[in-house]
Amino acid sequence: MTESSTPQDYVPGTHPDLPPPVGTTGAIGWARKNLFSSPLNIALTLISVYILISIIPPLVDWALVKSVWTAENRVECWGKMEEPEGAACWAFVKSRLQLFIYGFYPQAERWRAQLSFVLLIFAILPVLYDKLPGRKHWFWYVVAFPFIAGWLLVGGFGLTPVDTDQIGGIMLALVIGVTGISFSLPIGIALALGRQSNMPVLRLLCVLFIEFMRGIPLIAFLFVASTMLNYFMPPGTAFDLLMRVLIVVTLFAAAYIAEVVRGGLQGLSTGQHEAADALGLNYWKAQRLIILPQALKISIPGIVNTFIGLFKDTTLVLIIGMFDPLGVGRAALADAEWAGLAREVYLFVAMFFFICCFSMSRYSLYLERKLHTGH
């Protein structure tokens, strides 16, 4: 036997479990492995640290430490700072906050928007989290919610009607985003299944629809919706602009969702279909119990990706004269008292979108972890 370099030789079968050597686990171990493992890595780490130090403290300084939160106009705001334009003037955003949130919604009716928002939270929670008690009973509420919210926001039947042109800002982004997301998913799944079907006419229709919606930019569809759709409809129908936008955005997203789900369906082995068939499950039961749960789970990253993109694409309605948060921001910037504060406005709008999109992406990770069953 050669000389062993271990401090102690154990009889085979009696070696105890020892702790690993110092410096290979914990924070130090992580840093050594990921940040300092090779000369290239060390150089990149140092460069990154330098970049972060150059950017973050001045940014925090500008945005939070030296910023001014209360003022009547730009001149006063800058007057309060050590040097004009040396810090963020959030007073502007604060004074225009109502505009950012509600757009031009009439002041007296804003409670309806607030109520819809609260109801939205209650409608979303059972869909997202299945550990809620009594979740099954909320099903009818969730189904009825779009109609309740629609009535609340637009009025009629006892509530003063509000022109949909007056819906703007964050409210508009949420209306288009939530509607687009909730309706495009079932339609997209149906399109994906239709495209896989054995019936040639159905398959052809689904393929044509998907390729048509994907082949034309959303902005072009929005233009068509705002200007030309009246030519295609029977004379006398006045189709509300917001409604047209909602339909177009939903169908557009549905086409993308269809392709994502189709990718997920292709990721399943044929053995799953065969096992479902051999057990006697018919097409719809097999889809609902076996195929779609697995396909949708694989597709979660792609689906959430599409939804995040859709939510951000809602700002395109700016082009057809609707006031999404960016549109409201630009309108606010036109005010002479506050002109020149573009950075604050755009940062605020960017923060809003970032918070929403990041939350969606975190939720998607939560969902993937929850559904992970070890395969």
């Binding site: 082995s269 053995g271 799953q272 065969e274 096992a275 068939d277 051999a278 057990l279 006697g280 499950l281 018919n282 039961k285 119990l289 076996i290 749960p293 697995q294 789970k297 559904l371 069953t373 070890g374 395969h375």
Partner: protein, 264 residues
């Protein structure tokens, strides 16, 4: 239901079918994959309670043949009658036959997003509309029968290959089929797990189930099969009792095949 008689072995009481009635009757069956003639002039009759092992080289059409019986593959010519119902394009017939015929696959094909118990109770609940509590109880009995009741709440990803295949067998049995088809059930298993699955299949055989098994396990064929069928290039070349088949092969190709598999 299985009961124990005085000698301790289990025999199926009140067999689901008369042993003179044909469980499967295949007449002049041909199948093509496109231009390729994969099954040629298949004539096969299987009685209730009979156990058949089908063997042959790869590509001989053995798996395709048994997959035609529950319509996972379609035949273009000839007739297949299972349990009195003919297999045609009629969906109702297909579904009826599929609920009477259970299948166990080479790659298990368990549903990975469901636990072992849920895999077993899915079809009884959704196809036969049995209430959940009853289906759960029956499924636990079958899981006990395949000797893994303690794995009931695990997901397939957490089970070994042998355990997965046994869950797959239990899943098929939960639908109370009259015929069980096995498509190379042990070919994807490590050697130490083959034994546990074969034991379950032997126990199933002893309870009187009609079984059609595509396998390379010749020991299983010798112990359990009533008939061994040899297929090559889509035709049934020879069929005989295990004893005659292994000791007195008639056809040259049979002799060649046996020499290849029995001498390694």
């Amino acid at each position: 239901m299985a009961t124990k008689n005085q000698t301790g072995s289990r025999r199926k009481v009140a067999s689901a079918m008369d042993s003179s009635e044909m469980a499967i009757s295949i007449t002049d069956m041909h199948k093509w994959f496109g231009e390729f003639h994969v099954l040629k002039n298949i004539n096969l009759k299987v009685r209730g309670g009979e156990r058949i092992v089908i063997c042959g080289p790869s590509g001989s059409g053995k798996s395709t043949l048994i997959r035609c019986i529950n319509r996972l593959e379609e035949h273009q010519q000839g007739s297949i009658v299972v349990d009195g119902t003919e297999l045609t394009h009629d969906l109702k017939n297909i579904e009826k036959i599929r609920s009477e015929v259970g299948m166990v696959f080479q790659h298990f094909n368990l549903f990975p997003h469901l636990t072992a118990l849920e895999n077993c109770t899915l079809a009884p609940i959704w196809v036969r509309r049995i209430p959940k509590a009853e289906a759960d109880e029956a499924a636990m009995k079958y899981l006990e029968r395949v000797r893994i009741p303690e794995q009931a709440h695990k997901y397939p990803g957490q089970l070994s290959g042998g355990q997965q295949q046994r869950v797959a067998i239990a899943r098929s049995l939960c639908m109370n089929p009259r015929i069980m088809l096995f498509d190379e059930p042990t070919s994807a298993l490590d050697p130490e797990m083959i034994k546990e699955v074969l034991e379950v299949m032997v126990e199933l055989a002893e309870s009187g189930m009609t079984m059609l098994c595509v396998t390379h396990e010749m020991g299983f064929a010798t112990n359990v099969a009533h008939r061994v069928i040899f297929m090559d290039f889509g035709e049934i070349i020879e069929q005989n009792t295990p004893h005659e088949f292994f000791n007195n092969p008639q056809h040259d190709r049979t002799k060649l095949f046996l020499s290849q598999i029995l001498h390694h």
